[in-house]
């Protein structure tokens, strides 16, 4: 039954030019409904037709069908037949050739290739086809056939030897298409590895290296996805494929290194480095001095950092390859000779530390030393004594500093030294170097003291170089500078050095540093001498925090810091700054070390409970105090951040214990659980609106614990707790407490287990709130209801709950509600912004991927429509909401939706509302970078607005933002900006005389860039 249908399809394909039918036929063959023989029989007349076009179509059809068959579908016999057939067809008219190649390409992919067929295909193609006269896609077929056969039939092709190489050279000679070049570049290394290229080495090199350096910019929206890098790296692999290329490759590279094109130089150096992976030392011999000249020129001139970096890496690579042959007699002199030349060339620059070439010469030597252990020894033995001598010879600070910087560079390089049989060459000069470095610490110039510290740390990082006594001595010196130095930059450097000590040589820090710091901390700083005014307990606490990088030290320092905090809370007078500092120190330590299990357990057992206790004490004892450090917002929130950081790392068991604990104290009022026998003035009822604000704001602590725990830690009687939180939010008037409460509510809803219980709770909450939103104006609860609504919306949007759509929908109606419209935009901020104290990834919130994008698409049409249809007074609420959307939505999403939004952004600039203007300008500034063409269309409107805002009297921030936007505009396409150049330059003369310095700075910057437009034009 199927037969007539597919034969019909066949006829249509061959005669018409429709590509249909192929699938019918190939499916038929795969389903065994059609025999391959039948197909060929029916195709026969077409394949032998006198009309070339018909032969083309017939051959094509056969190829198309073969491409669609499973790779093991055909038997060896069938494959052999078809290969013979196609090979024979290569002799046909040239217009048939592409289709034959297409068929052969299909054949090359079959698994049952008979012996000899691989060779046959390659031979016939190279005999009958002139590949380079074919079109791009057909040339591609030819390369692909080769790639397939090289992959599967290598053993068969190898005997072809030089013939294969020659035919490949002919195939790719003159290739112009980047897509095909990528393929050809992949073939060359395979040929080099498997065929004798000797006879054709130069030709093979020529035919590939003629593309060097690659100069290719993919067309915009390139559908083929060939990148410049792909070509560059492919060509690099070809040129570096075999040492046989060395004699042709190195002169070519040297030639390119001397060109004027920076990217050509860079590519040449990169390729050189690549070549060192395969070329041998002797291959470089005759080119060494020229290569070094090229590297030197780039490094000493320092024109382009990119080229300089490439040159230095190439130097390292070359030295490294010269060193590999050191066992052989001849090569030893090669390395020695090369290094000797480098040293000779660079040496005298090192004796002129006041001049510019000192640093680059140092870099060259360091790059060479990095090449191998031998090179490191040879160079350092020569240079370190020289630098030490220079140090003593020069007395000027800057010169000495330069010498030290370069010396330090060499010390750093020697870190790579891994000599198994030899000692680090620095060790030979260790005493001299350490003496110099230690002596620097008492220099009067601070730069030298800093250099000394950096140097000592550098020496300590070398394994097996410094002795234990020296390490201890270093620690003492560092500590002395931390405590006594008058210059703050030295003290900072010394603190960094101590931090290094604590992490690498912990026992020394524990033995020497810690006791001394603690002892200092006990002294009363009111009476200390005036010579070290920086020495305060705050400074010492910061130092303690800085060295807390190892568990042994943390377990010592954190209790000290905590004790300090507790002492502060007990004092009758309040010292906010000291308490804040103390908490900051604790927060930093916890933040950076809590990931380690040992530290976490320590914090859980010895810090968390204590922090909860002192905070509870401060909340409960509100009667006898008028103020308390922990009542202050910043400090309370900092404390919460420490608690949160610990809680979010707790295990399930620890988390469950915490929940039980915190519910007992906060909900059930069992404060004695934490306080023990400590005094309490009354009951602790943070969940009652009638409680004093000191207690209700404790909800932030509650939030930090209960919303930071793992999702699998369940909260018992969750829904009655949620009810309490809703009611509390509605009743509270203290805004900090209210915010903590509503965040807590949202955080819990976000993580509540999925199911009908949650769904029905949300439904009833929705109804309750809707009633309040409509009627709550009299009771004053409508604003609280709106706040709950917005936060719950965030919680639901984030987890992608089905009901979230209804919540968002309702939120959109706030704009047109005269009691709520001022709050309407806030909801957009709440949903889009990320808050670090609730519903973050670290707090294990349920966050659906791309929720911002979804919310953006969901609300944008409504906002635009609302803006267009509303009365003038309300437009700004929509614009503010829009500005929040734009600020937080991912860039790619924004760009695709941008064009219709730009007019709205322009409108936003006109509204006299500083925050809206600022956020709009921030958005526009970014857009000029991301979507230059779209913004470019509005320059006629935008420029006058920005110019006007650059003189906006009430706010310097607006003036600055406007000027920055104007400056950024110069990056837009020239043909758009140039017509405005005169106006802008003239108008920007005014803000140059602004009363604020920061505005003048931006004005000068922007005006300068507009002046420069003309040069950039070239």
């Amino acid at each position: 039954m199927a037969a007539p249908m597919w034969i019909n399809a066949l006829e249509v394909y061959v005669n018409g030019h429709q590509a249909t039918g192929v699938d019918t036929i190939s499916k038929g063959i795969i389903g065994k409904e059609i025999q391959l023989v039948e197909l060929i029989e029916k195709l026969g007349p077409h394949l032998t037709s006198a009309d070339t076009a018909v032969r083309c179509r017939g051959t094509r059809l056969l190829g198309e069908v073969l491409h669609r068959l499973p790779k093991d579908f055909l038997t060896i016999k069938e494959v052999e037949l078809l290969v013979n057939f196609f090979s024979d067809r290569l002799k046909d008219h040239h217009s048939v050739t592409p289709h034959v190649l297409f068929g052969l390409l299909a054949m090359s992919t079959f698994t049952h290739l008979p012996p000899g067929s691989g060779q046959q295909m390659v031979k016939e193609v190279s005999k009958e086809v002139h590949v380079q006269s074919l079109a791009q896609a057909d040339r591609r077929s030819a390369y692909s056939i080769l790639i397939n056969l090289l992959h599967t039939k290598m053993e068969e092709l190898k005997p072809m030897g030089a013939d294969f190489v020659y035919s490949f050279i002919q195939t790719m000679d003159g290739e112009r298409d980047p897509r095909n070049l990528v393929l050809a570049f992949n073939i060359v290394p395979v040929i080099v590895q498997n065929f004798p290229i000797g006879m054709f080495a130069e030709e093979l090199f020529e035919v590939t290296s003629c593309y060097f350096p690659i100069d290719f910019t993919p067309p915009p929206n390139d559908p083929h996805g060939v990148t410049k890098d792909e070509l560059v790296l492919g060509l690099q692999r070809c040129m570096a494929a075999t040492p046989l290329f060395a004699q042709y490759c190195l002169p070519l590279l040297i030639e390119k290194m001397t060109s004027d094109v920076q990217s050509a130089k860079k590519d040449a150096f990169h390729t050189l480095a690549k070549c060192t992976e395969t070329y041998a030392a002797k291959d470089f011999q005759e080119f060494l001095s020229s290569l070094f000249m090229c590297m030197k020129r780039e490094v000493l001139s320092g024109v382009s950092e990119m080229v300089e970096g490439a040159a230095l890496s190439a130097l390292t690579a070359v030295v490294s390859v010269l060193s590999t042959g050191v066992q052989q007699k001849n090569s030893e002199t090669l390395l020695d000779g090369f290094l000797k030349d480098i040293i000779k060339d660079c040496r005298h620059h090192l004796t002129q530390p006041e001049l510019k070439l000192m640093y680059p010469s140092g870099k060259l030597l360091q790059a060479a030393a990095a090449g191998s252990d031998q090179a490191c020894c040879i160079i350092l033995r020569e240079i370190i004594p020289l630098l030490l001598e220079q140090f003593h010879k020069h007395t000027q600070v800057l010169n000495r500093r330069s010498v030290l910087d370069v010396l330090l560079g060499f010390i750093k390089i020697s870190k790579r030294f891994n000599g198994s049989d030899e000692k680090n060459p620095v060790a030979e000069y260790k005493d001299a170097i350490m003496t110099v470095l230690f002596s620097l610490l008492s220099e009067t110039n601070f730069l030298l003291r800093c250099a000394g510290l950096t140097g000592i740390v550098g020496m300590l990082t070398l394994t097996g170089v410094t002795s234990e006594e020296e390490q201890c001595l270093a620690a003492e010196h560092m500590l002395k500078l931390v405590l006594e130095d008058k210059d703050s930059s030295v003290r900072t450097e010394a603190t960094t050095a101590l931090t290094f000590m604590s992490s690498e040589l912990t026992w020394i820090a524990c033995k020497i540093v810690l006791p001394k710091l603690v002892e200092y901390l006990k002294t009363d700083f009111m009476e200390t001498d005036q010579s070290s005014p920086h020495l305060s307990s705050g400074y010492l606490l910061n130092t303690l925090a800085a060295i807390s990088v190892h568990k042994d030290i943390i377990q010592e320092t954190v209790p000290i810091l905590y004790q300090q905090l507790e002492d502060l809370t007990n004092r009758p007078e309040t010292d906010y700054s000291e308490a804040e500092l103390c908490l900051n120190c604790i927060a930093n330590i916890v933040q950076s070390s809590v990931q380690e299990k040992e530290n976490l357990d320590f914090f859980y057992e010895h810090l968390l409970q204590k922090l909860l206790k002192i905070s509870l004490q401060s909340f409960i004892n509100y009667l006898s105090r008028t103020e308390h450090v922990l009542w202050k917002q910043d400090i309370l929130l900092k404390l919460c951040s420490v608690i949160r950081t610990i809680c979010q790392h707790l295990s399930q068991r620890q988390g469950e214990e915490m929940v039980k604990n915190v519910l007992a104290v906060y909900v059930e009022g069992q404060s004695h659980l934490w306080l023990g026998g400590a005094e309490a003035e009354g009951a602790f009822k943070p969940l009652q609106a009638s409680s004093p604000w000191q207690q209700t704001q404790a909800l932030h602590v509650f939030l930090a614990v209960i919303c930071a725990l793992h999702q699998n830690v369940l909260v018992p009687s969750l829904y009655s707790l949620l009810d309490m939180l809703v009611n509390l939010t509605l009743q509270l008037s203290h805004s900090l407490s209210q915010l903590g409460t509503v965040k807590c509510l949202a955080g819990l809803i976000n993580k509540a287990p999925q199911g009908t219980e949650l769904d029905s709770y949300l439904e009833s909450l929705k109804q309750k709130l809707e009633t309040l939103l409509n009627t709550g104006v009299e009771s004053g609860q409508h604003q609280g209801a709106a706040l709950v609504w917005q936060w719950v919306t965030k919680a639901l949007v984030l987890r992608g709950h089905p009901i979230s759509g209804k919540f968002v929908e309702k939120m959109m109606t706030f704009f047109e509600n005269s009691n709520l419209n001022k709050l309407a935009a806030d909801g957009f901020y709440i949903v889009m912004a990320e808050f670090d104290d609730v519903m973050t990834k670290h707090m294990h919130a349920i966050i659906r991927p791309l929720y911002k994008q979804r919310f953006f698409h969901l609300t944008l049409p409504g906002l635009i429509q609302g803006f267009n249809s509303t009365i003038a007074d309300r437009k700004q609420f929509y614009l503010t909401a829009l500005s929040y959307l734009l600020r937080f939505v991912p860039k790619q999403v924004l760009l695709s939706e941008l064009p219709p939004l730009v007019p709205l952004l322009v409108q936003s600039l006109l509204i006299e509302e500083v925050s809206l203007q600022l956020s709009t300008m921030t958005t526009m500034y970014d857009l000029m970078h991301d979507a230059p063409l779209i913004l470019g269309e509005y320059l006629d409107t935008l420029i006058p607005k920005f110019l006007k805002l650059s003189r906006y009297e009430p706010s310097m921030k607006v003036r600055i933002a406007a000027l920055q936007c104007l400056g950024m505009m110069t990056t837009l396409p020239q043909h758009l900006t140039t017509p405005h150049q005169k106006t802008v330059v003239r108008e920007l003369a005014h803000p140059l005389d602004d009363k604020k310095r920061l505005v003048r700075k931006e004005a000068a910057q922007a005006r300068g860039e507009w002046y420069l437009l003309e040069t950039m034009q070239k």
């Binding site: 004027d260 920076q262 001139s301 320092g302 024109v303 382009s304 950092e305 620059h349 002129q352 006041e354 001049l355 510019k356 070439l357 800057l398 730069l447 009430p954 706010s955 310097m956 003369a989 140059l992 005389d993 009363k995 604020k996 310095r997 920061l998 003048r1000 700075k1001 000068a1004 005006r1007 300068g1008 860039e1009 002046y1011 420069l1012 003309e1014 040069t1015 950039m1016 070239k1018």
Partner: protein
Amino acid sequence: MPILENVNPEIHQKASAREITHAEEDDDVVDEIDGREIFDLIRNINDPEHPLSLEELNVVENSRVHVDNAQNRVMVDFTPTIPHCSMATLIGLSIRVKLLRSLPNRFKVDVRITPGTHASEEAVNKQLADKERVAAALENSHLLEVVNQCLSSNKTSSE
């Protein structure tokens, strides 16, 4: 690459960025233009020969910039790296143009060579002080391009 006159010049420490004070962030306080502000305008001008700034080469120094707000005058002295530096005029011109573009036009700006640091000090000073000659120089598109090169902020302009 053209041949450099002074291949291996001395390099100097750069000043740190000016710290922003509370007064500067207060909308109501008036900040007077001071020497440091003007120094900040010119210190990052590129040297015509080296990939270094005028500050790094000590060609301009904070202490050699003077402002008189009442008289609307600005005086800048610059020090060529070598006494025979043929780039002195070009450097002076770059400083002048930069200040012309960046300062309110109420100021009269004098750009001169630090006394005793250049062989043809007087001639160069005369050239720089002559308004017509400066204007004429800037009409020359090649010269303007070189000056703009010095004033451009991207350092890889040679690419």
